[in-house]
Every structure is written in structure tokens, then in C-alpha cells.
Subunit: 158 residues, 2 copies
């Protein structure tokens, strides 16, 4: 990655408003990532999140509360026959848009840390799912292809 | 996302060998992610990692040690004039391959948590960098397009 313009050298600026840091303020530990994994896998109920992530009830409650407050999950009431009304948790649009992060972690983990038992494939064509870094014109990129640029308010970015 | 075959229902299996969980065993907290961000931004020296991530020397030392042990960073000796030999830290191939995770977090953070001051663009064409989820045939995917399938050893996966 090449730092350009006023971003070069790196010693001349601070990474304020870093969107990666902000994302980590919201999804801030292992259990938060794994609760989101479970939400993508279709888990909706409180007891199931804890059991499937392998965390205690109190940790699950805290993480779910955080993720609802941050806007990634939303609560919806449900009621099993003969039971009281409870809340289930579903991904919001914001939460569903976290897919590229988890897909990229899944790909990286499988590539570098050992085989997985499950994989994602495209329902329609059966092709394996990939997390790709591309530019708006569709070129696939490696770190060496990327410039870091200052996003000035008056830039011509559309 | 649709669970298929023996993966349906979710209550019937445990997420053992989960590559997302394994990735989080290695890159396991905020400072680890942000040290990797800095490595992509060209930071190599111990003092700079701590200052630019905003963590103490002892935390920086622990994280760098972990990331070297896990194989994402490697140490290389350097020597400034009149100084003793020191170690700098550079991304390995395994570390450089973490780019899709950070690019996806950057994109998500910018989209949902507020504007960033920097952005990544393709050096050659100037196009904005995107983190995309696609299948091997190139179709861009949303969660609803994806099946989760059991990766059996005798599958015909190439």
C-alpha cells in the first residue's frame, strides 16, 4: 500500500475517524463476531446464541444488547404455544452488510489455519464464495496495487 | 444464508473447526487488528506501532510478539547509523492476505459509522477499493444468495 499526498509520511498524521477502529468499537471482541456468525447461520433465540457460540448467558446477554444498541441486530417478539412472549434477534440491513467481514475472515482462516467443515457456496450456481478486494472498475487488487488517499470534502468522489 | 443437508437444522451440529473462530484466536482484539492496519500503512518500527495505534509499549510488545508467532508479521534486523541493531516488523504473505478482512471492515465502518478521512483506491485506475463477496463464477452475493454446505472430504471441490 502506498501513502499519497499529505498522508506521506505516515508520521505526519493521526488515524482519526478510522473506520476500522470504529467498526471494532461496535464489534469489539470474539463473542461479538461469533454471535454475528450465528445470526447469519439463522440463529435467532437467546438461549441458542449462548450455546452455539460457547459463552455464558450473561456474556450472551451483554453482547446481544450491544449489537442491538449498535444497530446490527433487532429484536422481534415471538411466542411459542403456551409460553410467554419472548424476543428473538435478527440481522438488520446494517448487520447483514457485515457479511464481507465474516466471509473474509472465513476465507483467511481456512487458507492459513486449517480446513473448515463447512463452506459457503452460491445457491444458484454452486460456486464457492470468495471475499475479494476489487476496485470500482472490477480489477482484483493486492496490497501493492492500492494507494491510500486523503478523502477531502471537495474531492470529485461520487 | 440457507443451511443445507446435514447442516439443517442448526441445532444438529457444533461449529467445530470454524475458520472465523480460528482467525479470532490469532487476531484476537482491537489492538491486533489496528497493528495490522499500521503494517499495511507501512509502519515497521516498534515505537511507531504503539504510538500510531495508541497503545502502551507493553501492549504493543505483546501484540507484535503474538502476530510474529502466528506468522502474520516477521522480524527483520535494521540498524540506524550509530545505533545498535534493532528489529523491524513486516507483513508476511499470510499477513498481507489479511487485507480483505481490513478492507471489509473499513468499508463497513465508513458506510455505517461515519465518514473516513482516508480511503483506498486502485493505483493504476484510481477506482475506489471495495470488499466484495462473489462466487467463483463472479456473481456478487448477498446473504440470501448463499448456501452453507458441509465440506465432506470426498466432495468434488477443486
Amino acid at each position: 500500500m502506498t501513502l499519497t499526498g499529505r498522508l506521506d509520511p505516515r508520521s505526519g498524521w493521526r488515524a482519526a475517524q478510522c473506520p476500522i477502529a470504529r467498526a471494532l468499537d461496535v464489534v469489539h471482541n470474539r463473542s461479538a463476531f461469533l454471535i454475528l456468525r450465528e445470526a447469519f447461520y439463522g440463529t435467532t433465540r437467546f438461549d441458542d446464541f449462548g450455546a452455539r457460540v460457547g459463552i455464558s448467558e450473561s456474556v450472551a446477554a451483554a453482547r446481544l444488547k450491544d449489537l442491538v444498541a449498535a444497530g446490527l441486530l433487532e429484536q422481534q417478539p415471538y411466542r411459542d404455544p403456551g409460553e410467554r412472549t419472548r424476543q428473538e434477534y435478527r440481522l438488520t440491513e446494517m448487520g447483514a452488510d457485515f457479511l464481507p467481514v465474516l466471509a473474509a475472515m472465513m476465507q483467511w482462516g481456512e487458507r492459513w489455519l486449517g480446513p473448515a467443515r463447512v463452506r459457503m457456496q452460491h445457491h444458484d450456481c454452486g460456486g464457492d464464495v470468495r471475499a475479494e478486494v476489487r476496485c470500482a472498475s472490477g480489477h482484483e487488487l493486492t496490497p501493492g496495487d492500492i494507494d491510500l488517499v486523503l478523502d477531502t470534502p471537495d474531492s470529485a468522489r461520487s
